[in-house]
């Protein structure tokens, strides 16, 4: 073992950094971790630069584009009128889907979809539904007759790690950008959407004039960490995720209540202190994300 270690250091001198990084990724990373600095210059607990722009898709009712470093997510919400089910006549419905098209990563090809996509889809659905972000009763238009079917589609445009975190933030931001379209009752008792242009010449009664925004209760935010030996790396890139395979994702709401915690296996066993550290990192991250979201929303109001 000692021999191989020295062998590596011997080769390292002659080898270019890039080649070394590819051939011995773990050793490369461990050397950086000793200095508490990651190859991209981040301290271990720092997340990548995060940006958010609202209203990126004009054909949707609400949308958001999120970037965590190179990871890019586009979330858009479309509302359609539907007849509510008999069991819950005054509730709308929520459909959340996460897509990874071939452009997002070299490992995804047409006919060879990413295995992780449906997993993230389910996790997003769980996090959003169990946090109580949306009150499904608010999606009702006329009890027993009409309600909103809410389609939330999140597309990963560039996959570079921490996909769940970016997707959740994009979805949440799209919800806060969402503006419910106006609907009116036609003579036959059907609910039709009214677009902005012919608003003036419709004398018909609008069903939802005062209710154009959803009240968002406890908003969920998350942070994924990579665990390796005793190190915790927040907001990992795709490279970090592939080299150090133990991931831990914490989802907290805006008042720091725990919504969910995923640790899908991995070789590192998470001790209590490690989990606690991850949660406290997430708390800090929640504050950052909240600030970014509220800044983007107030910028929108000025415009």
């Amino acid at each position: 073992m000692a021999e191989t270690a020295t062998g590596k250091t011997g080769m390292e001198g002659e080898m270019e950094v890039d080649a070394y990084r590819r051939l011995f990724p773990l050793t490369f990373y461990e050397r950086h971790l000793l200095d508490s600095l990651r190859p991209d210059g981040r301290p271990l607990s720092r997340s990548r630069h995060t940006s958010l722009s609202l209203g990126a898709v004009s054909s949707a009712d609400g949308s958001a584009l999120v970037k965590f470093g190179d990871t890019t997510m586009l979330a858009a919400i479309k509302l359609e009128v539907m007849t509510p089910s008999k069991e819950s006549p005054d509730e709308g419905c929520l459909g959340i889907e996460f897509h990874m098209p071939p452009i997002c990563s070299p490992i995804v090809r047409p006919g060879k979809p990413a295995e992780i996509a449906p997993v993230i889809s389910k996790q997003l659905e769980d996090a959003i539904l169990s946090s109580g972000l949306i009150n499904l009763k608010e999606l009702s238009l006329i009890s027993g007759k009409a309600a909103w079917m809410t389609y939330v589609d999140i597309y990963c445009l560039n996959a570079d790690g921490s996909l769940f975190d970016a997707a959740l933030f994009a979805a949440v931001a799209a919800f806060s950008h969402l503006e419910i379209p106006l609907v009116s009752l036609s003579e036959g008792g059907r609910v039709i959407t009214v677009s902005g242009e012919n608003l003036d010449n419709t004398a018909k009664e609008l069903v939802n004039k005062d209710k154009r925004k959803l009240t968002l209760h406890s908003i969920p935010f998350s942070l994924t960490c990579v665990l390796h030996k005793n190190y915790i790396l927040a907001d990992p890139t795709a490279e970090e995720e592939s080299i150090m395979e133990t991931l831990l994702t914490v989802v907290l709401d805006s008042s720091s209540q725990l919504i969910s915690l995923y640790k899908p296996g991995g070789s590192v066993l998470a001790f209590k202190t490690m989990v606690q550290d991850c949660i406290s990192y997430t708390r800090k991250r929640v504050k950052e994300l909240q600030k970014i979201l509220s800044e983007a929303l107030s910028d929108m109001e000025i415009d």
């Binding site: 990126a56 898709v57 054909s59 479309k78 897509h99 047409p110 597309y155």
Partner: protein
Amino acid sequence: MMYSDIGRLNCNISYTTFSTSIRGQGSDNKEFSAMLHKALEGSIILESFPKTTVDVFALVLESGGSDLPVIISCASLALADAGIMMYDIVSSVSVTCIGKNLIIDPTSEEEDHQDASFLISCMPSRNEVTQLTLTGEWTTAKVHEAMELCIDACSKLGDIMRSCLKEAASTLQ
């Protein structure tokens, strides 16, 4: 797969579920993918990368009309950005004919009311056409008019694309 002396080009176009006004309508794209392939094929020096495949994936985020010409021009820019050897960049423009009027770069609404359409992809600095599609009813005079309009627009678009590439290259340095 058989050994091949020349490179292979593979194109795929997909639409997001929210790209069209009614959700999930824009999924029919096999035909578009084939059209994209044919529009680009002639511009790439396939001999420069034997036994290699170049994948061109396009994702339409929002569809507002003239989708295919935008995709073709965009894909050609992406190929240039990737450093793929090409004879020239491909710029593409479409024209819609409604009644007696020719409308360049039509929106979805205009496309819905079209009587005929004309799409051209060309390599502006070589003055070569890689793809030309005509649908609907055309008179010879109208075709000539549309052709001139499009060729002119293609060369203007080509200039803009070229300057974009230059800008991107200079910011890299």
